[in-house]
Amino acid sequence: MRKKTWKEIPIGGLIDKAGSAKEYKTGEWRTFKPIRDEKKCINCLICWVYCPDSSILAKDGKMAGFDYEHCKGCGICASVCPVKCIKMVKEEKEK
């Protein structure tokens, strides 16, 4: 998302639109990105329990990937995974 200049934003730090928090993609903060090896994953969903940002997606009782728009890359999922199927890989940042 292109960041606005000082001439384009409301004064006083005001937010002049309701419900705009959903546009805020905290995933942009990430330095390391979790990558899962699907073959190794046993779908225990311990990562889902531990994720502090509700960024583990689960469907039909199975691990279904990551919400990269909100995952901040803390690495807790990789740390708690009993079969070590999640790797933290350095993000390639867009310039």
Partner: protein, 404 residues
């Protein structure tokens, strides 16, 4: 008033004998803000006391919030101004210090709160008398600051401040300063404008983005991190810079309405002066007397009194001081930089690299209410005469009136 008790169309002013605090309260009565949240502190007490009486007597419809501290006073003002109503408070010294956190929030949130500040020394040691250490400490808070020479100016500046603060191109809070006890408690003849004329001048308050406008919801005070905080600060600096263009327009309207000659700065016999003093607030009156005495002896002395310190009217000051031989800036505050007071440093910085800049030195005076006399000012001028003659400054920063 006429015999039938009615005012005629001429919209008369009246002259009354009141002290600076009461003059400030009179201005507040005429402005009749929707909300006043204030805590009494010497020497501002009479403002809150007098205004509370107006509220109790039903002379104003203001919602008066007698808060338990200054931190709460400014917090309530922020809430009230954000909600969308005209809001005022008043304070002094330690009260202002106690507000500190919220003082910055009021400015950065762009809330046009008007606050008379009766200048008083900050502790320690505890002292209730005048110096400018309280508001000078708040000079980087983002508030505008007007300094008043006497009760008349304190009264007028508050009315002017409302109009400036609420201007759509400014929207910033303003401190209207007057000297503690010297101005706040000394009775003077003050011209009080016609109530209706004041109300017409300030007009109805139309908030820009009120919190209570449920059809257009806004969020006040959200988290603002590395990605946008700097942009918001950049906006604030631009607004302050731009206010130097907007304020003279508001002043012109004020002058026309009330038949006044206000300006960003006041000059006294400065035009042909060779030596000059720059000073804020009540001491300007003392300097005027000294200037007159020196002029009688054929010495070309003059005075520059910045009425506005925020925004800092640098260009106007340069215009006023250019071509003078020697200037002494008098500060009623110590900035503890080891290099002079705040008014001195900003004035000298404004003159740097300017053509025909005078030699500029600093005098720190009057801390904790120490009196300054005409003779003290005359000695400053004598020093300036020698500097003008020799081009040499013996000491850059003098402490005037302290026992050596």
């Amino acid at each position: 008033m006429y015999k039938d008790g009615k005012r005629r169309k001429g919209k008369m002013s009246k002259y009354i004998a009141i002290a600076g605090d009461q003059a400030a309260a009179e201005a507040m009565r005429q402005i009749e803000p929707d909300v006043v949240a204030a805590y009494p502190i010497t020497p501002q007490t009479e403002i809150v006391m007098t205004f509370s009486q107006f509220v109790a007597d039903g002379k104003v419809k203001t919602e008066m919030i007698p808060v338990e501290s200054e931190h709460s006073a400014m917090s309530a003002c922020v809430g009230s101004a954000a909600a969308g109503v005209r809001t005022m408070t008043a304070t002094s010294a330690n009260g202002l210090a106690f507000m500190w956190e919220i003082v910055y929030i009021a400015a950065s949130t762009r809330l046009p709160i008007v606050m008379p500040v009766v200048n008083r020394a900050l502790s320690a040691p505890i002292n209730i008398h005048c110096d400018h250490s309280d508001t000078m400490g708040a000079r980087d808070s983002g508030w505008l600051q007007i300094y008043s020479e006497n009760a008349q100016e304190a009264y007028e500046n508050i009315i002017l401040a409302v109009k400036i603060a609420e201007n759509e191109n400014i929207l910033l809070p303003i401190m209207v300063c007057q000297d503690g006890f010297i101005t706040s408690h000394a009775v003077e003849k003050v011209e009080i404008f016609d109530d209706k004329k004041v109300k017409d001048f300030i007009g109805e308050y139309k908030p820009r983005q009120p919190l209570l406008d449920v059809d257009n919801p806004v969020t006040y005070g959200p988290l603002d991190l590395q990605d946008y905080y700097f942009e918001h600060k950049r906006q604030q600096s631009e607004t302050i810079k731009n206010s130097l263009k907007v304020i003279p327009e508001v002043i012109a309207e004020f002058n026309k309405t009330f038949n006044r000659k206000c300006d960003l700065v006041e000059e006294y016999k400065l035009n042909d002066a060779e030596i000059a003093i720059v000073v804020l607030s009540s001491t300007a009156g003392t300097v005027k007397v000294a200037v007159d005495k020196l002029r009688e002896r054929g010495i070309k002395a003059g005075l520059l009194m910045p009425r506005f310190f925020r925004p800092f009217p640098a260009a106007r000051i340069v215009r006023s001081l250019r071509g003078k031989k020697a200037v002494c800036v008098l500060d009623r505050a110590e900035s503890f930089s080891g290099h002079g007071g705040p008014l001195f440093n900003e004035t000298r910085s404004a003159m740097y690299n300017q053509e025909d800049a005078p030699i500029i030195k600093n005098g720190i005076y009057g801390l904790g209410g120490r009196d300054i006399f005409v003779e003290d000012i005359e000695r400053v001028f004598v020093d300036l005469i020698n500097i003008a003659k020799t081009g040499k400054v013996k000491s850059l920063v003098d402490y005037i009136g302290v026992r050596q």
